[in-house]
Each structure stands twice: as structure tokens, then as C-alpha cells.
């Protein structure tokens, strides 16, 4: 058994919140550059130039890349041999979010209740925390702030098994076309296939953590990823004002499902596909 103190978790989460907000992952930056090199629309080129310059300013000056510093999603992989000392892990994570968003001059964008009393909690808590129990004595924390300009354009369809891979691709394209110019493209597209409705949505979020230059290790899934990448870039949506760079990457995560079902969830992320990890 290995002890990890809650203070340490709080400190790391605070740091990761700032890092994620300021520093666009290198692979996303490279994907933007690659898009710029092939973009056919002059206006699209201008938009991509601004986005690339924005990433450079944010990184050089420790400024939030986007003013929507997101609802803080935290993925935790906790080794079975870890013992958390000093309180609840979830409290430690939320304390870290509050600290990071305050110290880092990040926007507090969370309301405590969604419908009748939409009052800002003023410290961006609570985050959305997903915990997975794994082997070993390590604790891996990934902070992935999610902006809602893109989140509002995400979607889910419950297909029937007969629809197969073509049905999955068609469902993704319906969601992308409906999203149109609104989710701040070029976008990163996370797809969850299988599981239950909620599990598919969770997988579609996790899919956004893959590197833009990484492809599915399973060729059965690498193929639809590649097909969808090409199809989405042919919609004309482009970098917000039309063009050929609509998506930077398409990633599929899949899971076992019911004999009667084929859930498909799509999380659309804007070009601010932000995440930062640390292993304790």
C-alpha cells in the first residue's frame, strides 16, 4: 500500500488546470499547422493564422488560450494499492480546481444548479470527475477542461446493430453537419461506440485525449476514423468561415455492448483540445 496525501493531489490538479488552459498540446498545434499548409480557402487561411498565433501568445505569456476555460473534466486512474490520506479524493480534486482557476486567472464558468437557480459557484467547482480503478500503486490525473461552445454541439444516437459501420458513420456526419460552424472548428471529434448510452458518451470524451497524430491500433476502427476525417473535411465547414480544415483528428473508443444495441456518442471539441496529465 502506498500513501498519497490529499494536499499533493490538490496541488497537482491546480497546476494541471493552469497548464491545460495556457498550453495547447503540441500535437494539436502541429495539426493546426498541417491544416494551414493544406487549407484552400483564403479566409480559412486567415482564421488558421489567427488561431496559430493565439496558441503562441497563450503559451509565451501564460494566458488562457480561450476565455472559456471550461467545465473541468478530471480523469483519475487510481492504482488499487494506493491509499489516499487526509480526506476524500474528490474534495482534494475540487480544492485543486478552485485553487488553479483562482491563481491562474481562469474564468469561473460553473453554475451550481442547472434550471432554477443558475448561480455561479465562483471557483469553477465542482468538476466532472471520472475515476477508474487500475492495477499498481500509481495515481494518474488528467485535467481536460471542456468549453461549452463545442460541448453544446455534441450528440448521441442509439442505432440498431443492423446499421453497422456505415450507420455509425452516417450518425457522426448528421451530428457534425448539424453542428456546422458553431463549435469553433477546426474540431477534434471523439466518438464512443458501444456500451450503454452513458458509457458511449464517456468513451467519446476519453477519445479526445488521444494525440491528433495517433490512429486507432485496431485496423477495423482506424478505417472509419480515416474515412470520417476525410468526409468531415469535405463538408466545407472549414475553420469557422468555410474551407477544407474542418477537423484535426477523429478518434474512436469502443466497448462491449448489448445484443440489441449500437450506441454512438460524439463529443465535439473545438480546436482548443486541452488536456494535461501527471502521474503521482
Amino acid at each position: 500500500m502506498r500513501n498519497i496525501k490529499t494536499e499533493e493531489i490538490t496541488e497537482v490538479v491546480a497546476q494541471l488546470c493552469k497548464e491545460a488552459a495556457y498550453y495547447l498540446p503540441d500535437d494539436v498545434y502541429e495539426a493546426l499547422k498541417k491544416g494551414r499548409a493544406t487549407e484552400k480557402s483564403p479566409v480559412g487561411c486567415d482564421v488558421l493564422d489567427q488561431i496559430i498565433k493565439n496558441a503562441e501568445i497563450a503559451k509565451a505569456e501564460d494566458r488562457p488560450y480561450c476565455q472559456d476555460t471550461g467545465l473541468t473534466i478530471v480523469f483519475v486512474e487510481i492504482g488499487q494499492e494506493v491509499h489516499i490520506e487526509g480526506g476524500l479524493m474528490e474534495d482534494a480534486i475540487n480544492d485543486g480546481i478552485a485553487k488553479g482557476y483562482t491563481e491562474g486567472y481562469l474564468r469561473k464558468s460553473v453554475v451550481g444548479e442547472p434550471l432554477f437557480n443558475r448561480v455561479n459557484t465562483k471557483d469553477n467547482t465542482p468538476g466532472v470527475i471520472y475515476t477508474q480503478l487500475v492495477a499498481g500503486d500509481k495515481l494518474k490525473i488528467t485535467v481536460a477542461p471542456k468549453g461549452f461552445g463545442s460541448e453544446n454541439n455534441s450528440g448521441l444516437e442509439m442505432l440498431v446493430p443492423a446499421e453497422g459501420v456505415e450507420g455509425v458513420k452516417a450518425a457522426v456526419m448528421r451530428i457534425i453537419k448539424h453542428a456546422d460552424c458553431n463549435p469553433c472548428p477546426p474540431m477534434v471529434v471523439g466518438i464512443g461506440v458501444g456500451g450503454t448510452m452513458d458509457k458511449a458518451a464517456y468513451m467519446s470524451k476519453k477519445a479526445l485525449l488521444h494525440r491528433c497524430d495517433e490512429h486507432n491500433p485496431d485496423p477495423n476502427y482506424a478505417k472509419p476514423e480515416k474515412d470520417l476525417f476525410e468526409m468531415i473535411n469535405k463538408t466545407g465547414i472549414g475553420p469557422q468561415l468555410g474551407g477544407t480544415t474542418t477537423t484535426l483528428a477523429v478518434h474512436v473508443e469502443w466497448g462491449p455492448t448489448h445484443i440489441a444495441g449500437l450506441p454512438v456518442a460524439v463529443t465535439i471539441c473545438c480546436h482548443a483540445c486541452r488536456h494535461a496529465s501527471r502521474t503521482l
Binding site: 480557402s41 488561431i51 460552424c181 463538408t235 466545407g236 468561415l241
Partner: protein, 185 residues
């Protein structure tokens, strides 16, 4: 890219009606930020017959909720938010005399009709280019609703704020025009 058009606020209806979808502009002067919560409060005040905190005649509204400013800076990161969420309030607000809106994303047909009627132009700033856009903001001053935090109504003094006309006063839509040549499916 074609020559950029310089706009000095306030924006008159005459100037607004000259702008065409696809024009690149650089805006200077004072613009006012308001987003979801401020729009809700303002339209509720109008419904009660109350006066608004500012006179919107010939003004430009920027759909923005910035990050907090670091010490010594006028503003934090300051990119546009999705305009469509304001659509329900927009015709009422345009009737107050607003001549320009800056945001991102598509608008409902009733908003476009109100734009034609009022001579209002819809500009897009690049979504997610918030650290870059902040460079053109020289001053940020909360005017009303400070309790709304980042959603407060504020006056921004801007210099050469970069934007593009996406929907003009005749209803031409650059989101459609710009996509068409590249749409294969």
C-alpha cells in the same frame, strides 16, 4: 485578403448598411460586452418598462465573458462566445438601436429579419483566438450587473479589433458563401 475596412464606433445605420458579407474590418472605439445572463436581465427590464443601463443607439454589442485580468492587464483572454444563445433576446435588443453584434456562429431567421429592419450588421471574431483578440482591448470597465461576474455588462475600449462581416443588413450570409466552394458532401 482584401483591404480591411476601418470602423470607428458609434456605428451609424448608414455605415452598417454599406458593409457586405465577407468584408474584413478593424473596429476601434467603445463596444459593449453582454452575454446570456445580461441579455436575460436587460430584456426582463424592458418588459417591465424600465430603462437600460446604457443607451444602445448606434452601439456594438460583443458577446463576451472574459477571463479575469492578470495584474497590470486591462482584460484577460477575450474571444467571442456562441451568438445563437442570444437569439431569443436579439430582436428586442436590436429594437433598442444596436447597429453591430460581434460573436460567432449561426443566427436564427428571426434575428436576420430584425437585422434587415434595424440596419444591424453581424460580425464574427475568430472563436478561440482569445489571447490574440485581447491584445486589441485597451480598457475594460464594468457598467452594470457586476454580480454576474464574467457576464457583467461592460464597456471595452478597442483598437483595431479584427472581425469579419458574416451576415450583412441585406441578409447575405458569409457562413453559407464561404462554405459553398469547398462543400463536396
Amino acid at each position: 485578403m482584401a483591404e480591411k475596412i476601418r470602423i470607428q464606433t458609434p456605428l451609424t445605420e448608414e455605415m452598417s448598411r454599406k458593409l457586405k458579407a465577407g468584408d474584413s474590418v478593424l473596429i476601434s472605439g467603445i463596444i459593449y460586452s453582454a452575454r446570456d445572463a445580461a441579455h436575460k436581465v436587460m430584456t426582463e427590464a424592458l418588459a417591465r418598462g424600465e430603462k437600460l443601463p446604457i443607451d444602445w443607439h448606434n452601439q456594438i454589442v460583443y458577446y463576451l465573458g472574459p477571463t479575469p485580468a492578470k495584474p497590470g492587464d486591462p482584460i484577460g483572454s477575450a474571444g467571442p462566445t456562441t451568438s445563437g444563445r442570444m437569439d431569443a433576446y436579439t430582436p428586442t435588443m436590436l429594437d433598442q438601436g444596436i447597429k453591430g453584434m460581434i460573436g460567432k456562429g449561426s443566427r436564427k431567421p428571426e434575428v436576420v429579419e430584425s437585422m434587415k429592419k434595424n440596419g444591424t450588421t453581424y460580425f464574427a471574431a475568430v472563436g478561440g483566438a482569445a489571447a490574440l483578440i485581447a491584445k486589441s482591448v485597451k480598457k475594460y470597465e464594468v457598467i452594470a450587473y457586476p454580480e454576474l461576474g464574467p457576464e457583467a455588462l461592460a464597456a471595452l475600449t478597442v483598437e483595431d479589433f479584427p472581425a469579419i462581416v458574416v451576415i450583412d443588413t441585406e441578409g447575405n450570409n458569409f457562413y453559407e458563401i464561404g462554405q459553398k466552394p469547398y462543400r463536396e458532401i
